[in-house]
Amino acid sequence: MSLQSVNDFVIRFANVNGSGSASANELFARSVLRMGIPVAPRNIFPSNIQGLPTWYEVRISGAGHLGARGGTDFLVAMNPQTWDKDVAGIEPGGYLLYDSTKPMPKSKFRDDITVIGVPLTAICNREYTEPRQRQLFKNIVYVGALSALLDIDVAEMEKLIGEQYKGKEKLFDANKHALHLGRDWALMNLDHPIGLQLKRSDAVGSRIFIEGNSAAALGAVYGGATVCAWYPITPSSSLPEAFTRHCQRLRVDPATKKNKFAIIQAEDELSSIGMVIGAAWNGARAFTATSGPGISLMQEFLGLAYFAEIPAVIFDVQRAGPSTGMPTRTQQTDILSCAYASHGDTKHVLLFPEDPAEAFDFGASAFDLADRLQTPIFVMLDLDIGMNYRLSRPLAWDDNHKFDRGKLLTAAELETAADFGRYLDVDGDGIPYRTLPGTHPNKGSFFTRGTSRDRYAKYTEEGAAYADNMQRLLRKFDTAKDLVPRPLQANAGKSTKYGVIYFGSTSPAMDEAIGLLEARGHAIDRMRIRAFPFHSSVTSFIGEHDFVFVVEQNRDGQLRSLIVNECSVDPVRLVPILHYDGTPITARFIAGAIADRLDALKVTPLRKDKVS
C-alpha cells in the first residue's frame, strides 16, 4: 500500500554537489509555501564543493511542524553514487523518482515502494544542445514533473521563476519552458496525482522564509553594529556575508555614498576578536561571527574582554566538533567552551535563539546587553538555524527603542562627576562606569589592562584588590540574570512530576514531541532556556519536578552540566536526552527517548503502548 497523505510528508532530493540543483529544489519548496502550506527545508551538504553528494530535504507539514522529522516519503534520486543508501532510506510505501533514460536492473529497486521513472536525460538531450544546459535544466524538469505528481499549483511556480529572473526575460522563458517540459511529460505519461498531495491551505500566514544567519546579521544592523571582523568558517560565514549585504542596502549614506560600517575579513580568529575588542573599547558596537574552532582560538582574548570589561558580541554558529569534526553538520556543542571561555575564573553571557526571528531579536539586543554589562555576549546559533531557510514570524522592531549604551560617561558628565574610578561599583550592581578615549582633555582617562588593578584602574598585585574585583565581576554576572531573556515555560494540561528543559534549535522538534508524548498519555511541563546566566526560575522549575529531562544536541550534556554547576542541582534529577550524530534532532527521537526513560523511571503511563 503506497503512502497516502495530504500536506504532510517528507521529500528528499539526492543530488550531486555543484550540479545546479539548489535553486530548482528551492523553487519546489517555495512553491509549496506559496500554496499556504508550511515547509521546513534542510540542506545536508558535505564539506567538499564538487562531485560529492548533497541532499535537500523538505518537510511539508500542514500542521506547521518545522523540526526535522526523519525518514523519507518521496525520494528524487539524482545521485547514482548514493543510490543504494538513498533508496534503502525510503519509508515502506514511499515513492522514488529517478532518471529512467538508462535502464536499471530490477535489483536496484524495491518492491514496497512506487517507482516513477522520468527520462530526464533523454528529455533534456532532445531539447538542448549545450552540455551545461542539458545538466542544469534537468533539475527544473524534475521539479516540473513533481508539480504534476503532487498537484502543485504551477502558476505559483511560474510566478516564483518570474521573481527570480526579473528583468531577465530570456532566462525566465527558458526556465518556464523546462518546467513545462517536465510537467507535460508527467501529465501525459504518469499516473497523477499520486498518494502524496498538496492542497492549498492558509497555514503560512504572514510568516517569512529566512535563514537564521541572515536574520542575526540584520539584528546586528538594527542593534547598531558598525564594526564586523571575521574569518571564514562554515557554518558562520554567511552571517558576516549577509551583514555586508544588509549594510550595503541600509547603511550607505545616500548623500556621500560613504559607508556607516566597516567590515574586515581578518587573518584569523585571534585577529577578528582583537579587532572587535579594540573597536568596542573605543565605543563602536562590534561583533564577530565564528564557529567552534574559532571560539577555541579566541580564548585568551575572551578572558581579557571579561576581565578588562569590554563589550563584544560573538555569534557562534555551532557545528559538530571537536576539531574539524563534522564541519557541515549541526550540534549545540560549544555551550561550555563559551560559558567558561578562557583561562582563570570566567563566566560569559550566552543567548540561545530558537529560530531566525529570535536570532534577529537577540542579534540586536546582544549589543545593548554588551554595553550595559560591559562584557562579551555570545549569541549561540547553530548550523540548523543558521544555514537553512526557516519559516519564521516576521521580524519586528519597536521604533521607540533607543540603544542602551550603558554606563558610558560623556565629557559633560565627567565635568560634574565627583570621582571617577573605572572599576568602582557606584550603583551596587557590579557594573562600573566607563569612558571612551578622547572624551575629555583631563578627566576620565584610564589604562585598560589584563593585569589586576584597583578600583581606579591602577596596576596592583595586592591580593585583596584582586579579590575585590573578582567579587564585583560575580555581582555583575548576578545582575545579568535579570537582564537577559527569561526562560519560557509551558505547562502540561495537568499536573506532572516531570519537566523538560531545552534550548535553541531543538525548539520545533520539542514542541512537536510534546504532542507525541501527550498522545501517548505522558504529561510533561517544559521550559525553554533562552540565556545564561540562568534566571532564578530555572532552579524553581527543577525544584518543582521530580525529574527534568534536559534535551540537547551534544554528547556530554553540556547545558545539563552548566545547570548542575551553576544552580547546585542534584545531577540525578536531571535526565540527559542527547542527540549528537550531526543531523538535526527530531520529535520522534525526543519523544522516543523520553518515553523510554519514563518507563525506566517506573512510570506507568495512562496508556501502556510505548512510543516508538
Binding site: 558598525t226 560613504k258 585577529s271 579587532m275 585598560t448
Partner: protein, 351 residues
Amino acid sequence: MTYVIKPKFRHPELPKNKIGFTHRDYEGAVSTLCAGCGHDSISAAIIEACFELSIPPHRVAKLSGIGCSSKTPTYFLGSSHGFNSVHGRMPSVLTGANLANRDLIYLGVSGDGDSASIGFGQFAHAIRRGVDMVYIVENNGVYGLTKGQFSATADPGSKSKRGVVNTDSAIDLVGIALQIGATFVGRSFSGDKAQLTPLIKAAIEHRGAAFIDVISPCVAFNNHVGSTKSFDYVREHNDVVNKLDFVTGRATIEIDYAPGSVEVVQQHDGSTLALRKLDAEYDVHDRVAAMSFLQHHSAKGQIVTGLLYVAAESEDMHGHLNTVATPLNGLGDQELCPGSAALEKFNASLR
C-alpha cells in the same frame, strides 16, 4: 612591582607649547623598568614628539601588547587612554580601535618578541591593511620581561647573556614592513634622541601605516659583548641614511642646508619633512631601492637608520573601506537603525 604616580609639581616657568601644555602634561607614571633600559629613552622621545607637535594628549590612544616595551605606555601621556592588550595582538586591537574612531592618533608600542615572534602575523596584517597608526617596535633582540630568551630579531651568531649562540636567522621588521606596504618606514636607536624624536613626529603626521623599528638595548639581558643589540654594537655599526628635521605646516622655518643635500617632503596635513641627506644616492620615495639599500648594508653588518621610506601617496584603511567621515563610534540610533518601515519592506520580500 607597584605603580608610582608622579608628584604633580609644576614649575611655573616650564616652557609651554602652542596649546599651553608643558612637557609634564605629556608624561606618565614613573617608569618601573630597569635603570638604563633603552625603552625609557623611547618613551622620552614620544613625550618630546607629542609636546613639540602640541597634540592634546587625550586625542592619542596608546596601545600595546605584553613585554617590558609594552608596559611603557603607562610611562608617557598620562591623560591618554591606554590599552595593554595581550601578547602579540596589539595590532588587531589597534585596528579595531581605529575602525571605531578615525579621528584619534593611534600609537602602537610593541617589542620584538611581541611583534616578530608571537605577533608576527598581526604585525604584518595591520601594516598591509594600511591602518593609520604609528607602530613602534622597541627592539632589543630578547624577551626582556621573561628574562632574556632570544626573540626572532636576534641576529644569528649573537650570544645571549648565558652564553648561548643564536643559530636561527633574524627577522628584520623594517625589511618586512617595506615589503608588505607600510607607507612610512624608519629605524632609529633609543640612544639617538635627536634622530628618533623627529622620526616619531613625522610618523604621527603621516596618514597610513607608519612603522618605526627602534633598536633599544636591554641592559639586563642583552647589552653584553657578543650581543648585536647592545649600545656599543649599535653605535659602532650604525649607518645613518639621512637626518630629519621635522617642520609642521603651521610653522615656516627656514631650512638652511645646502641645496642638493636637502629634500623637503610634503605630508598629507600640509606639514613638511626636511631631510638632510648623508647618502647622496638615497631616495626616500623609492621603496624598491630602500629594500636593496637595506639588504646591501645589512650584508656588510651595518644597521641603517633614519627615514627609510615614505610613500608619495598613501591611503589608509578607512579610505579602502570608504567609511563616513564621522567616527563610527559617534553615529547614533538615527544614523544606524533602519527602523520598522524598512523592516516591513524586508519582511515582504521574504514571503
